[in-house]
């Protein structure tokens, strides 16, 4: 192992700073954001440095132990476990950061801010910084352990002498010490197996009682105390979502619907719609709109009307009895408008294997006046 390998962990952490950059694009300069990201970068650097020191110490320790074969096994396990720890920790951090990046872009429109940055970002950054700080503490602790080990000072007596007293675990569990085990061994011998009569660990006992109390309170609240049942929860979440959308709508102006849908002709919008068509419509209507499971969209015959309004409605609400799904919950009104425009643009194209016409002949002239104005 070369020391250069410690660059790897730092490299793995890089997406964190990428995330920081992507978060910053939408604002100009934000002092809080800058400060927090800088803090994180400093912490990463410090952790990288500490990790390096720790690795060097680990190698030094291993060399030392090599000369002392009696203890070789032990040190190998220690080094192995530290390396394993680093190996598992870093990719985890990495994916965590990536997820965080995805989340922050999704949550951006929610207008709850702290210090000029989105609340969720703030907590996320604080969380990352806190986590890095913890990692730093652990690294420092490990380095101290290592240096003591190198100096030959027994770990348990040197560091936190009170905390690592031999009977800490024993006193936590209220167990009789190993030396005095004879006093609590029971009379029985089952095929050589003896049993001790240690007390129940107090934290376990009180934990058990605590869960019972929590359970009683839980039942009391949800069963008899008017706590929400699952349908209440559902209704509340729907009401909240509707309120949020109404708020959004009041800001962005009227929503596109079947009464005000426009025929789009903009080439970039049509190109977007074409990609959308390939993903959502082509399976049933064919890649070129010639129809397979669903009807041909290129001819002049329509089952449910061929006007912009009609096509928009067909996509939005679907025709359940005919197997046309409603796309209202999956596509935005803008997307449906784009799709409608794209479908209208297919009119008269020559698909490879067109399906026979279905429905009635639709003539654009017969369309109501509202439609022709929409085209302008």
């Amino acid at each position: 192992m070369k020391p250069s390998k410690i660059i790897l962990p730092i490299f793995l952490l890089l997406p964190l700073s990428v995330f920081a950059a992507s978060g910053a694009t939408d604002t100009h300069f934000n002092a809080t954001f800058f400060a927090m990201v800088s803090m994180i970068v400093v912490l990463i650097a410090a952790n990288g440095l500490l990790a390096n020191v720790l690795l060097q110490l680990a190698f030094a320790l291993r060399e030392k132990k090599m000369k002392n074969p009696a203890k070789q096994n032990e040190s190998n396990t220690a080094i192995k476990s530290i390396l394993l720890f680093l190996i598992f920790l870093l990719p985890a951090l990495n994916s965590f950061a990536q997820e965080a990046a995805a989340d922050s872009t999704a949550a951006a429109p929610v207008s709850q801010m702290i210090g000029g940055i989105a609340k969720s970002d703030f907590y996320l950054l604080t969380g990352i910084a806190g986590f890095l700080f913890l990692v730093m503490l652990v690294l420092i602790l490990l380095i101290r352990m290592m240096t003591r080990e190198l100096r030959g000072v027994p770990f348990s007596t040197s560091l936190f002498p009170g905390l690592f007293k031999k009977n800490l675990i024993d006193s936590l569990n209220n167990s009789v010490s190993l030396e005095k085990e004879d006093t609590i061994v029971l009379d029985h011998d089952y095929d050589g197996i003896r049993e001790l009569d240690n007390d129940l660990p107090p934290w376990w006992k009180w934990g058990f009682i605590f869960t019972i109390i929590v359970s009683v309170l839980y039942m009391g609240y949800y069963q008899f105390g008017g706590g929400p049942n699952q349908v209440d929860e559902y209704n509340a979440s729907v009401a909240k979502a509707e309120a949020e959308q109404a708020k959004l709508l009041s800001k962005s102006g009227a929503k596109i619907d079947e009464n005000n849908v426009q025929l789009i002709t903009d080439p970039t919008e049509l190109a977007n719609a074409k990609a959308l068509f390939a993903n959502t419509c082509a399976a049933c209507h064919g890649a070129d709109g010639g129809g397979t499971v669903g009807p041909n969209l290129t001819d002049a015959y329509w089952l449910h009307g061929g006007s912009v309004k009609d096509v928009f409605k067909s996509i939005k609400y679907g025709w359940k009895d005919k197997g046309m799904p409603s796309w209202d919950k999956n596509l935005s009104a803008k997307q449906i408008q784009d799709l409608t425009g794209f479908i209208e643009s297919l009119k008269g194209s020559k698909p490879a294997s067109p399906k026979a016409p279905q429905g009635d002949l639709y003539k654009a002239e017969a369309a109501p006046a509202a439609d022709s104005t929409a085209k302008s």
Binding site: S175, E181, V293
Partner: protein
């Protein structure tokens, strides 16, 4: 003798003279039956490898669907149950019997009650496994998870289980040890509870020699099934293995069990509380809220009793941790117990409604069960095998180094299996729950499937590593066996009970009373495990308001029923749920949330537990018949990137009309309101409906004979969720 060697280096001899002083009369000489233990050990290793291979195969199919080879017998829907049943009942089952037959004889100081019963038990169980694997691959399934085997095999299981119990209780009764050790309490509770679970959940009405309908329907079937499913984990994968831990861990570590008091309280608390927790598998489903709440709180209360077992295991190792580093047996056991602790903490967390809303139906659950299955059951079995085989064959383990290699590969396998599944599960749930600011679903289901593929692959790598480890173990054990010679009849001596005086030193613990009375132990265990189920079942079955009826919900037409039986046969429930939970995203994606009254004629229920594909509760009418036709022939033609396998045989095979009258009669007996004498008209109705669908398909240039199975399946799919009319937002 071997086990005597061990007791030599026991702790300082304590008060053994107490026992000797009470002895009167000569020692009996008898022989332990090691042969049956070795048989079960071979079966454990063999079925372990087989079960893992099926698991790996199923896992790989999610990345490479073509590995189903377009054969009915080898599609995911059929081999996934083979995998789960093989691992639970063949691998762990034989592991239980191996450990019980070894430890019970020694803890009771007697040979097994009957060699004949031991042999019948062994061969009976192996034939159940073989028959089970064959029938599952042929499509004979009840579709109730971990209880998929059809009724004749259910009967066989009952018989063999009774033989096991008879042999076990017979051995206990003729014991030469006055008190029952904690391991035996767990064995007894396991036996009686599994018997109860199996019988109640397998209530079914046969309509052919290999087919049946569940006696329960809808909500009630779901409740019974998950009472069973949850407690199969509790009483097949947990309590017997805790019993094994209580024997093999102190033996391997040469340490006394940490706390007798802890054993008592965690044993009784565990078996009492476990039974109640089944409904946590149905949170946010169409199960009455009170039952869901019970499922949640009893899961929370389970943390401490579960951890009691872990603590008693880990603290038994006090003073032996230096050896844990060197002894592969102890290493395996420590990881097993730790995995048990992690899984039994995670379980209650997953029972919290807010966590369950995310985890349910995703791979998070799959990760959770594999911490238990690979870590707890797998590693404890490996540890026991490494300890047991050299002892019975009076030799040393062939290679300690290989055992260590196995340990590390296995551990890595667990990590590589579970971590991708945790990430995948969480990721899929987060994607599915996201809305755009305008209020549309941000991702289609298929988009989440695309995101899952790399994780599915990494999981297969983890499973592959675990399998490699197990193969290394088999090689190591084989070499060990070759080097030694089995002591099939192991000589032992003990005083008969009649010749032992009861000497009580000081105050006798109150619990000693029941430890002298195996039949009372059996009886009281049964009482304790009956309570939870009874409190949950009786109101759900008897009180009408728990399953409000919906007048528009009607029985399936004969063709739909035939299609439903195909749906069950193909194991569609292994990837598709039929249960829309009352969440904004699910209602937007699938339609109105499922109501209890909608599945009253579903024998068995098909709510499912995992969504590798989308929910189908309201798929009826969502697509045209021709969409389903094309999709079943080649799923990727309609859903680009789908991991569903094709089902070409449905287009070749005809629905067997001759059994239709029997099906209708069976349904009538179960209370489905077909008019009297309808069994005679059913076939007619069936062909009429089939012709209509075939004609409809012909309109889309899809030619198919009306008698084909695909037509029946389309009829069923198009019916799903259409009984209740939900107001559309027009």
């Amino acid at each position: 003798m071997h086990h005597n060697d061990e007791s030599k280096d026991k702790l300082t001899p304590l008060t053994t003279e107490a026992k000797l002083s009470s002895s009167v009369g000569p020692l009996d000489t008898f022989y332990y039956d090691n042969k049956i233990v070795v048989w079960f050990a071979y079966a454990t290793a063999f079925w372990g490898i087989a079960g893992m291979l099926f698991g790996l195969w199923a896992a790989l199919q999610l990345t490479f669907p073509s590995l189903s080879f377009n054969l009915a017998e080898t599609t995911f829907g059929r081999i996934r149950p083979v995998h789960t049943n093989a691992v639970i009942f063949a691998f762990v089952g034989n592991g239980i019997f191996m450990g019980v037959y070894y430890s019970l004889q020694r803890l009771c100081k007697t040979r097994m009650y009957s060699d004949l019963l031991s042999k019948i038990h062994f061969w009976g169980w192996q034939s159940i496994i073989v028959l089970g694997a064959i029938t599952l691959m042929l499509g004979y399934t009840s579709s109730k998870e971990y209880a998929e085997l059809e009724w004749p095999i259910d009967v066989l299981i009952t018989i063999v289980w009774v033989i096991f119990g008879w042999n076990m209780m017979g051995t206990i009764i003729k014991r030469r040890e006055r008190h029952l050790y904690v391991a035996i309490w767990f064995y007894i509770a396991t036996w009686v509870t599994v018997a109860m679970l199996h019988i109640v959940n397998s209530m079914e009405l046969p309509y052919t020699w290999l087919n049946s309908y569940s006696a329960y329907a809808g909500v009630q079937d779901a409740l019974v099934q998950w009472w069973y499913g949850h407690n199969a984990v509790a009483f097949f994968l947990t309590t017997p293995y805790l019993g094994l831990m209580y024997y093999f861990l102190p033996k391997a570590a040469n340490r006394p069990v940490y706390s007798y008091r802890l054993s008592i309280i965690h044993f009784w608390a565990l078996i009492f509380l476990y039974i109640w927790a089944g409904p946590h598998h149905l949170l946010y489903n169409a199960l009455p809220d009170w039952a869901q709440n019970l499922g949640t709180v009893f899961s929370i209360m389970l943390i401490a009793p579960s951890w009691g077992g872990m603590l008693n295991g880990l603290l038994t190792l006090r003073g032996a941790w230096d050896r844990v580093r060197e002894d592969p047996v102890l290493k395996f056991m420590v990881v097993a117990i730790t995995a048990y602790g992690m899984a039994t903490f995670e379980g209650p967390m997953l029972s919290l409604k807010s966590v369950n809303a995310i985890s349910h139906f995703t791979d998070w659950t799959v990760a959770h069960v594999h911490v238990g299955a690979l870590g707890w059951n797998g590693f404890l079995t490996f540890g026991i095998l490494y300890w047991l085989i050299p002892r019975i064959f009076e030799t040393k383990l062939y290679s300690k180094k290989l055992a260590n290699v196995h340990f590390w590969i296995g551990t890595l396998g667990i990590v590589f299996y579970t971590v991708p599944m945790y990430i995948a599960g969480f990721m899929q749930a987060s994607m599915l729950k996201q809305f755009t600011p305008e209020g549309q679903l941000k991702y289609q289901f298929l988009e989440t499937v695309q995101q899952m593929k790399p994780f599915y692959f990494m999981r297969s790598v983890g499973g592959f590593l675990f399998l490699i480890g197990a193969l290394i173990m088999c090689y190591n054990l084989l070499k060990t066996i070759k080097a030694g010679k089995a002591v099939e009849e192991e000589k032992a001596q003990a005083l008969s009970l009649a010749n032992q005086n009861v000497v009580v030193h000081g105050k006798d613990h109150w619990h000693r009373w029941i430890e002298r009375r195996p039949m009372q132990m059996l009886f009281w265990s049964l009482i304790v495990v009956i309570i939870g189920g009874a409190v949950e079942f009786i109101p759900t079955f008897m009180v009408k308001s728990n399953v409000p009826t919906i007048s528009s919900v009607k029985p399936y037409t004969p063709l739909e029923l035939a299609g439903r039986d195909i749906y069950v046969r193909e194991g569609c429930y292994t990837c598709h749920s039929q249960q829309v939970r009352p969440f904004r995203d699910e209602v937007a994606r699938y339609g109105e949330y499922s109501k209890a009254g909608e599945s009253v004629y579903d024998h068995p229920f098909q709510w499912g537990s995992k969504r590798t594909g989308p929910d189908l509760a309201r798929v009826g009418g969502k697509y045209p018949d021709s969409w389903h036709f094309n999709h079943m022939f080649d799923p990727t033609s309609m859903s680009n990137g789908s991991v569903m396998p094709p089902y070409p045989w449905l287009f070749r095979r005809d629905v067997d009309a001759t059994v239709m009258p029997a099906k209708i009669r069976a349904m009538q007996k179960l209370g489905v309101p077909y008019p009297a004498g309808y069994d005679q008209k059913a076939v007619d109705d069936m062909s009429k409906q089939a012709e209509k669908i075939a004609k409809n398909l012909a309109g889309d240039k899809l030619e198919v004979k009306p008698s084909r199975e695909i037509v029946a399946l389309i009829a069923y799919l198009q019916r799903l969720g259409t009984d209740i009319k939900v107001s559309e937002n027009k």
